[in-house]
């Protein structure tokens, strides 16, 4: 293995490996993890690559320790990451909350598999989407990204680090087994073409500095350990000094800011791609490994003259509400194929709020939809809409 950080060129690698290369290209220099299928290749690739790049790879005793070490390393100034799948993701939940409230930049990769529990270790699932948003206790906002191919595993992992460093929050990469294990061509650009963002450091003198005081961006500028600011970082509700203050007023100030830090900056975070939305009657809303069968279905249907478009969510949290609300006024129905029994579909339905019809095409996991299943779903809704019209 080379000691080159950015492996510029064409590669034939799987999504897990592409994710690792993306992390390294973004400057990741610390990885703590615990082996779990189907995310092991991320850890394995890190264990080969990081020591040659003056980074640190450590295998911890479990996923709780892994995320704790990732947070600790982040405060040590590292760009840190861990990777896991469902069971490990569940174990990480409490410390994801710690990362949110202490505003610790880091990246957590979840290569989703079938669940609940041990479920289907070696095959695909998308059942952790709501867990990504609500999994840790208390009310918070999170950033979650959804790559749909090995190339996006590379590209979006870089973006995940950049978002984590910008907004000081754990960023979740909600991939799935199919995306993680698909082997195909991945193009890694020259290092100088890759945009890498590093966290801001305070410039104020330690005597007057208040760690959690923010400007209108709502994002605090925090030092790393050892920078001479001698900060106190706590999972308790804290004030601008970082000191615990257990009262309703401090809770309101802190939690409102943590929520608004993401909500008010959502236009800078949310990313999507759209296909043939102009004049579309039906829009397929999709993410992750469901994107490919959905795209094929869309093309097949369009060849037969059906006015169907597609919205591919590159970020799932914060949810692209404004866009769905806008579209709901123009289209007749949304079709949501996902490898669960309705998670993003619930969000789409909420935002469509009666203005357009929402149909879920569910999948229990263990595989992904066929294009035919998506096509059938679209045809079904077209006939439903048709019969409704007749009734009127």
């Amino acid at each position: 293995m080379t000691s080159q950080r950015v492996l510029t060129g064409e590669h034939f690698i799987n999504g897990d490996e592409a994710c690792t290369e993306g992390a390294l290209a973004a400057g990741c220099n610390f990885f703590a993890g615990y082996p779990i299928t189907p995310a092991t290749e991320v850890a394995e690739t890190m264990s080969r690559r990081l020591p040659k790049l003056d980074g640190t790879y450590v295998q911890m005793e479990d996923e709780i320790a892994s995320i704790a070490a990732v947070l600790g390393a982040a405060w040590g100034g590292a760009k840190s990451m861990t990777s896991t799948s469902g069971p490990g993701f569940s174990l990480m939940m409490e410390n994801i909350g710690l990362g949110v409230i202490t505003e610790t930049p880091c990246v957590i990769v979840n290569i989703q598999r079938g669940g609940p529990s041990t479920g289907l270790p070696t095959t695909c699932g998308q059942g952790d989407i709501m867990q990504a948003k609500w999994g840790s206790h208390g009310h918070y906002e999170i950033i979650a990204i959804s790559p749909s191919s090995p190339q996006e595993m590379f590209d979006f992992t870089i973006r995940a680090f950049n978002l984590a460093e910008t907004f000081r929050i754990p960023v979740l990469i909600m991939a799935d087994e199919v995306v993680g294990h698909t082997l195909e061509r991945v193009t890694i650009p020259p290092a100088e073409k890759i945009k890498v963002i590093n966290r801001k450091k305070p410039t104020e003198s330690p005597e007057t500095y208040l760690p959690y005081k923010t400007d209108s961006s709502l994002i605090p500028v925090l030092p790393n350990a050892g920078d001479g600011y001698r900060i106190h970082i706590t999972g308790l509700t804290h004030d601008e000094r970082g000191y615990p203050v257990p009262d309703a007023e401090t809770q309101e100030i802190l939690i409102t800011r943590l929520i608004n830090k993401i909500r008010k900056n959502r236009d800078k975070i949310i990313d999507y791609e759209d296909y043939f939305l102009d004049g579309a009657k039906i829009v397929i809303v999709t993410y992750g490994s469901s994107v490919r069968p959905a795209l094929k279905a869309m093309r097949d249907l369009r060849e037969h003259g059906v006015k169907v478009g597609l919205l591919k969510l590159n970020t799932i949290w914060p949810f692209a509400e404004d866009l769905i609300r806008k579209l709901a006024k123009k289209v007749e129905a949304f079709i949501v194929p996902e490898v669960n029994f309705g998670q993003i579909a619930l969000e789409v339905e909420r935002c469509a709020s009666g203005q357009a019809f929402t149909k879920l095409i569910s999948h229990p996991g263990g595989g992904i939809h066929t294009p035919q299943q998506v096509t059938d779903g679209v045809k079904k809704i077209l006939s439903d809409l048709g019969s409704k019209r007749k009734k009127r």
Binding site: M60, E61, A68, L71, G72, G76, A78, P211
Partner: protein, 291 residues
Amino acid sequence: MKQKASKKPDRHPKDELLREDRMPHIWCPGCGIGSAFSSCITALKKTGIDYDRLAVVSGIGCTGRVAGYLNLDSFHTTHGRAIPFATGLKLAKPEMNVFVFSGEGDLFSIGGNHFLHAARKNIDITVICVNNMNYGMTGGQVSANTPTGAITSTTPYGNAEVPLNLPSLAAACGAVYIARWLSLDVRRLAESILEALLKPGFSFVEILAPCPTAFGRRNSLGSALDMNKLYKENSVIRNGVHPDETVIEEGKKMVLGKFIDKERPTFLDRLSKTSELKSTAWPKKEMAAQR
């Protein structure tokens, strides 16, 4: 938020390492955590390490509040997870001296697994554990270190379990420095914390500290003063004794002392970098050839 040192006599000499604006602390009158914390500050001052190069990590509980009172880079993490957090911090920033200060419930019940592996890997951190034999913060429930027969809020008929012997556990996992003192043994304790902080590798100091409010009250051990006297009368110093002989049980004096002080390469020592990477696979080639 650094505070500038001054030499006014109204300023306590340890204030330079205290977040003065957070005093008084939450601990009850005479609580052993306060004395242990005081000894820790004495040790920190004696290390000669630049305060900006020191970091403290705590978990949850009464002792977990230590991080919030020390004027260092300080991290108050989740319950039981101080050690892996400190591991990440230390590995990412090896030039810092990272220590964990937390209670026995945090470090050995909910966080027990992390202790084993950080000691086994010989991560270069110091773990200072205040063992007050119960969960004080939540009102005095049984912990993994409550003596057999003791009354707690969740063992109203007496504790049926056997407490964990922390020095034995630390020794079995490979800790390079192991000591145990009373919180009242302020000088010996400060000396041990100092040695532990300066020792490369995983060092461990256990502090037996009275919890008069939650533990002492239910077991009729009297005030903080009475408990301190009781601990002193019922303990004996046996430096260098095998850690297995330090079990705390009825009818035996509590064994104090420095039990282990040995050398072992740390995790970072072993973690070879870049071109030095070579296979150290086990079994060795010769052994493999015999099969």
